[in-house]
Symmetry: C2
Subunit: 447 residues, 2 copies
């Protein structure tokens, strides 16, 4: 791999080697330079930022952390700020405005052109996590009656500031989306061909209010590099580009990882999150699960006389609880993930149930048998060994069936299946497995 | 959203309405049509497939499941098969050849042109999960001495069959990669400009042997739509397109989900995987964790006299084990995911440790306090309540510190941090929490 290494910027800045700095700035990718900039002190930062080529400054600015952006804005003059705001892609400008405190936002909008201010305000109105919230209004639009030559002229005229020029959108006089035409098609057509004849009608598009998760799914399904966003009357209002879709995909995955580990999801970077916020995101679920576990404790209290008489029963509890939890979370993870990537559907529920039943019987029998041998060798008590082995086998079967059915049930009830992951499955399986264990033990030993 | 609905294809096929079928086939996206095709019976399938426009057939074929592909190939004549193979993008052809049994591969390669056969064989040699294994050799290459006009002529000539034409690669006489030029740049340049003057040198590229995970990271970091792949001498050998990078990203995420739930990762679809294979992927980890839990059981046996004398101690075991496990897996998930998306690094270990220590003290104290109140109200035994509350608080602190440090340790030792997720953390935390609990109880009650 060859991401270029930049020399020590800080020392170049201190030595006021402006030409070398400019050289580096020109030859380094925006995101790499943004990372370098984050590491610098406040004074060095503004010197570097001011020595950037003007068209690169906005790009680099969009890759900075909100803290650094805010800090930098305080040091910029109004005309400099205006230049940055106008240079940002609109979706980046909106992301940035969303993160800033009110007084900064006021200053930013004051320095934006009226047109930009209007567009930013409009984009800010879309609900979080909606297609509208991640789209940009910068795209190339064409008309059906244009020729290929007209289209190229238009792309050359407006293309410089657009996020993508490779997919152009064909709209009618009232901006209703009629078709798309790619630059590839334009290049392979005759100069005099009419756009209306070469465009692809029946465009795949999303509504402004659609969930961004759906957006990522469509990108993956149809291998797109841009996706148009329309309002309820099918007016074209914006586009989403593949880099944003990829970001959504990663954020949605992170959200699933967090939910599946019983946390409220958060897209705030770990290192900058305060400890009260981190604690808040974790404690609610821990509390709910803890209270549920009180109930499991109640089962043990119920059988107190049994294990008082046979204390050897106790030693198997951690093994039963852990194995049940692990077996259940394997199944729930497979099903949750399978549904998330569109491989499994609700209608597959019986195939899933039947498959998990057979797998769990197989796995449960093997683990149960190993337990019988181990316990028998260890304690010489075959009855105890058989009780533990049988309980484990039943536990594994229960765990896998609960683990695979709960996410499907959640989906059916329109909850997020990711909620039904390891932590909840484990808690439920624990109660089942201990009940089974002591019930069997009670029957055998009590008899 | 507007993915077009296709009418009932099966009945159209049975009614031999060839024109309607052709209409639908022309107006439906390849992947949607592939899904329809999967649902059809064998006879209908081949009828539909033969009525497809020739250039669409290969595209649709590449979206079919391996089973359907194999089944379809058996029904195709040699010339039909040759047409499909030549029509596939090379990376799709390789994916497909990799899934087929030997006799089918033989027939496929026999019907491919010599050039295609050579390229497929070459691509097959790259290691699984390497950049080489996901690249395609179909790209547009330009020379520095060409003009913009020459470049457009070349794109028009070779572009039709290339996966992307929007990024063109500039190579010298021995195919060493010298720069890239986008179609956007070409469009915004003068017709007589030299490619060497307008290209971007210092291209970001990967080596054939680099891990595909790295490929996905680079795509995300630099918002690319294509990435060149070079050999050790920097000869350009292929490109990877953003749709493949997105697929890699999803597969890598799925792998992490599976590993974090203590399963061997598998990219075989759940519904087509056999139960022995599913069981095999799960049992090894269950076994290892089960044997580890025997050890935890040993701790309980060690304290048998203690809980025989005070059986009320037992009731808190599930709550301690579950809460410890949940608290630990919250932390390990945050750290594993943070490292996976490049937000956390090994060098952050002390900030992480310090943050988790404070969060765990906060969360542990609150949960511990609630437990004291609950136990006290329930049993009226303040000593027991305090023992449980203190043990829980210590358990949560242990759990979060173990949970955050184990993935970092794994990373340091060059193991996959995802291995150090909930299942292992839970097992280790269980042993710690029960030891702490009975040790405290022993000290207090024994005194």
């Amino acid at each position: 791999m060859s991401i270029p290494n930049t020399p020590d910027l800080a020392s170049l800045i201190d030595a006021k080697k402006h030409r070398e700095i400019k050289d580096i700035a020109t030859n380094t990718k925006a995101i790499d330079l943004a990372e370098e900039l984050e590491e610098l002190g406040q004074e060095q930062r503004i010197i570097l930022f001011r020595s950037l080529p003007k068209d690169a400054a906005a790009d680099i600015f969009s890759h900075l952390s909100p803290d650094t952006q805010e800090n930098l804005i305080e040091l910029l003059t109004d005309p400099e700020l205006a230049y940055i705001v106008e240079g940002l892609f609109l979706d980046d400008a909106v992301d940035f405005v969303e993160e800033m405190p009110a007084n900064v936002v006021k200053r930013v909008l004051k320095n934006a052109s009226e047109e930009t201010r209007k567009q930013i305000n409009q984009l800010l109105q879309y609900q979080e996590d909606s297609a509208g919230s991640i789209m940009t209004t910068e795209y190339v639009d064409l008309k059906e009656e244009m020729t290929v030559d007209d289209a190229f002229a238009r792309i050359r005229k407006v293309g410089m500031d657009k996020e993508t020029i490779y997919t152009c959108y064909v709209t009618d006089s009232v901006r209703v989306l009629g078709g798309v035409v790619t630059v590839k098609t334009l290049l392979l057509s005759q100069k005099t061909d009419k756009i209306g004849d070469i465009m692809t009608p029946g465009v795949i598009c999303v509504n402004t209010g659609d969930d961004r998760e759906k957006v990522a799914e469509i990108f993956q399904r149809y291998d797109l590099i841009a996706l148009p966003v329309v309002d309820t009357e099918r007016h074209l209002v914006g586009i989403i580009t593949v880099d944003d879709a990829m970001e959504v995909l990663e954020e949605e995955n992170t959200e699933d990882f967090h939910i599946m580990a019983a946390m409220e999801p958060s897209d705030e970077p770990y290192l900058s999150a305060g400890i009260f916020k981190l604690a808040k995101h974790r404690i609610m679920w821990l509390l709910v699960l803890m209270v549920s576990a009180f109930f499991t404790g109640g089962i043990l209290t119920h059988y107190e006389s049994l294990f008082s008489a046979f204390p050897a029963l106790i030693a198997a509890i951690p093994m039963l609880m852990d194995t049940g939890g692990n077996a259940g979370s394997q199944s729930s993870t497979l099903i949750i993930r399978g549904m998330a990537i569109g491989e499994l559907r609700l209608s597959d529920w019986f195939s899933i149930f039947w498959k998990e039943l057979r797998v769990s019987l197989l796995v449960g029998s093997i683990l149960g048998f190993i337990n019988v041998v181990y316990k028998w060798c260890l304690s010489g008590d075959l009855t105890l060994a058989l009780i533990v082995g049988a309980s484990l086998c039943i536990t594994v079967v229960f765990a896998k069936l609960i683990g695979c059915m709960l996410p499907l049930l959640a989906k059916r009830l329109r909850f997020d299946p990711a909620l039904m992951a390891a932590p909840i499955v484990t808690t439920i399986v624990d109660a089942c497995s201990l009940s089974v264990y002591f019930w069997i033990a009670g029957k055998v030993v009590g008899a």
